[in-house]
Amino acid sequence: MIGALARMPSTLRTLGSSQVSNLIGLLIVAAALALTLQHVLQHSASLFFQILIIGIADGSIYALIALGYTMVYGIIELINFAHGDVFTLGGYFSLALFPIFGIAEGKAGFGYVIPLLIVALITMLLCGLVNITIERVAYRPLRNAPRLAPLITAIGMSSVLEGAMYLWRGPFSLHYPDLLPLTRFNIGPVNIGVKDLIVIAFAVILVVVFTLFINLSKLGKAMRATAQDRDAAQLMGIDINRTISATFFIGAALAGAGGITWGLYISSVDPFLGFITGLIAFTAAVFGGIGNIPGAALGGLLIGLIRAFSDSYFDSSWTEVLIFGILIATLVFRPTGLLGMRVPEK
C-alpha cells in the first residue's frame, strides 16, 4: 500500500501522456458499471452484498497467486506458467497431509486451528521447494537463452506438474473436507458466511505480511536490487542465484497457501484446476501492473469481483471473454497496468 501511494505521482504522469486511450478506457468502464448497476437494481440488495463478499473472497485468492507471477516477472522477466499448477499442488499436498494430523471432515472446531495452520506451513514449504527445483532445473540453465526458451520450458513444467497430479490421484476431482465453520450471520440485509470472512482474512494477512517482508527485510531489498539491475546487484555482493531462488520460494509458498484456501472454500481440487485459475491470476497481475506487488493484489481483487458479478448478473459464458478482454485491453491501452509496471531502470 505504501508502495502504491509512493507511485501515485508517476501513475498520474502516465495519465497525462496517453489521454486518448485513457478516455476510451474510462468510457468503457463507465458503461460497464452503468450496465452492472442496472442489473444489480433488478435484484435484491442482499444478493448484491453476498456476491460482493464472494467476489472479494475469490479475488483475495487470485491476489495470492498473482503475487507469485508478478514477483518472478519482476526479478527475471519470466512468466512462470507452472505457477498455477504449483497452486494446485498446494491443494494436493494439504489433502495428503490432513490424515497425518488427524484432520477430517466433520471434525471442525477450535482444536483443529493449530494442526490446520501446521499443514498450511508444511504445504507452503513443500510448494516452495517444488518451485525452487523447477527454477533450478528448467529456468536457470536458460537464463541467458532467448526469452522464448524459458517460456516454453515453463509451459512444459506446467504439463509435468499436471501429469504428476493426474498420476498421483487420478483424473477426477477430489473432495476437499469442509473444515471451516459453516455458520452465517446477518448484518441488516447482508448475509455473511464466517467461512468467507476467514478466507478473506487469511489471504489479506498473507499478502500484507509478504509485502512488508519485501519492502522491509534485507532479502526483500536484495530482491528489489536484483530486479532493478542484476549485474550491479551482483557487484554489490548480492548472491543472485540465492535471491532468485528465494523469490520463487516465496511466490510458491503464497500459491500453496492459495491452494489450501481455495480447497477449503470450494470443497474440491482437480489436477487441471491451476491452468485456468493461473491464467486468471496472471491476467490480474498484468491488470495491476506486472512486476508491481500492490498492483497484483489490487488486480486480483478486481478480477475476482468482475468474475463474480459477471457470473451472477450476466451470462457466465461471457466471463472469460470479459476477463481476457481486460488482459488484451490492458496490454494495448495501458501496458503498465493500473498501478504502473516496475520498469527496470537501465
Binding site: 464472494i54 471432515e105 466433520g106 477426477f172 469442509d178 485456468i276
Partner: protein, 421 residues
Amino acid sequence: MVRARGLAVLIIATFVAFACGGTTSSGSKGEIDIASDLPTSGADASSGLPTQEGANFAVTRAGTVRGYTLKFVPFDDSVNGVHDPAHGVQNVQAMISNNLILGMVGPFNSNVAKAEIPVANAAPLAMMSPSNTNECLTVTYSYCQSADGFTAESLRPSGSNNYFRVAAPDTFQGPAMADFALKAAPAGLGITKIAVWDDEETFGQGVANNFAKEFTAKGGTVVDRKSYDPKAKSDFHDFLASAKANGAQGIYVGGTSATGACKARGQMAGLFNPDIYYLGPDGIGDAQCLTDSGSMATSNMYATQGVADATQNPSAATIVAAYKAAYPGASNIGAYTFAGYDCAAILIDAIGRAIDANGGKTPTRAQVITALGQTKNFQGLTGVITLNTAGDQTTPTLQFQQVQNGAWVFKSQFAVGGTTS
C-alpha cells in the same frame, strides 16, 4: 534358404493345425463370436467392466446357438483410463477382419458410438449398445447437425441401419425429472420453483432445456437459468447465492460428474439447508458425484437412469441371482451390467433367427442385422424389449435413483413412449 523353407513349412503346418482345431470340435457346427467394445481399464473401468461381465455372463450361459459354439471376445476402448473414440474404431476394424464375429455389444459412450457407427455400418457389423443415450445417434432432430456435428443418416453411409441400443435416449430424461419434481409427494417432490443450470455441453444443455420446457409447461417456474463453463467454473457460491435469492426450492443441473456438475452440491453446505433438492440426469448418477457432494450427499439428490433396474424385475430374479453367485464382488454390478447381459442375449437370439432364416447355415452379418431389427417382445432382464428400425426400444424404461446412505439406490421406474417425434 533351407532354413527359410523349413520355417515356411512350420508356419503352414501351424495354420493347418489351427484350422483343423477350429472345425473338428465334436458335435459343433462351428464357432460364432460375439465381441464387446467397452472401456474396461483405468477410471472408466468402474462402469465398463461390470457391463462387460454382464455380456460375458450371457454368452457363457447360452454356450451354444443352433449347434454353433459361442465365444465372447472382449475389446477395451480406453486409452490411459479414458474411453477413446479412435481406439474404439481400431477395435471395430479388428472385429470386422475376424470373420467369426457376427455382432458386438457396445460401445459404452455416445462419442465412441459416433466414431464407430460409420465404420461398422460400411462392413456391415451389428452393434448393440447397453448405455448410449445421445438421441441423435438414432433419430435425426433438427438440431443434431448444428449441436453434435452429425445426424443419424450421416453416421450410416450404407443407408441402412446396423446400430441398436436398449437405453432410453436423452430426450426423455429432462421431461421425466420435471414431471417428478412437480408431482406432489410422495409420488414426486412437490416443488414449483427451481433453478436450472447446464454445463454448456451438448448433452447437458439438451437435458436442461428439455427439463425447463416441461417444468414451465406443467405450471412450475424456472426462477434462475444459468450456464457454466466446466473448464473455468469451480466456485459456484455466486450461482448458489443467486438461486437462493430467487427462491429456488431445488436445482436441476444438466451435466455430468466429469463436467463438475456435483461440485456445486458440495459448496451448498451452510448456504442452504441440507433439505434443498439437487436433481440431474444419468451423468450425475455415479460415485464421483457423491464424492464431490461431500457432506451434502443427502437423500434429497435424485438422478434419472436410461435403463431399468433388473433387480426390480421378478422374472429376472433367477438369472440375477446366478450372476451374483458367479460375480460376487460389489464392483461387479454397475448401472449397465444387466443391460450388457440383455444386449448379448438379444444378439444371440437374433443370430439364432438368422441361422434359421439361412437354412441352418452360418448367416451373413447383414442377415444378423436384419434379424436384430426384427427383435420383438424379447424377455430381457431389464424388461420386454422390442427394437424399431431406427435402433431404439419402442418403449424404453426410465429409472429414478435417490441417494441413500452414501449410494445411489433405486427409487422408481416407468416406461416412456416411442421415439418418433
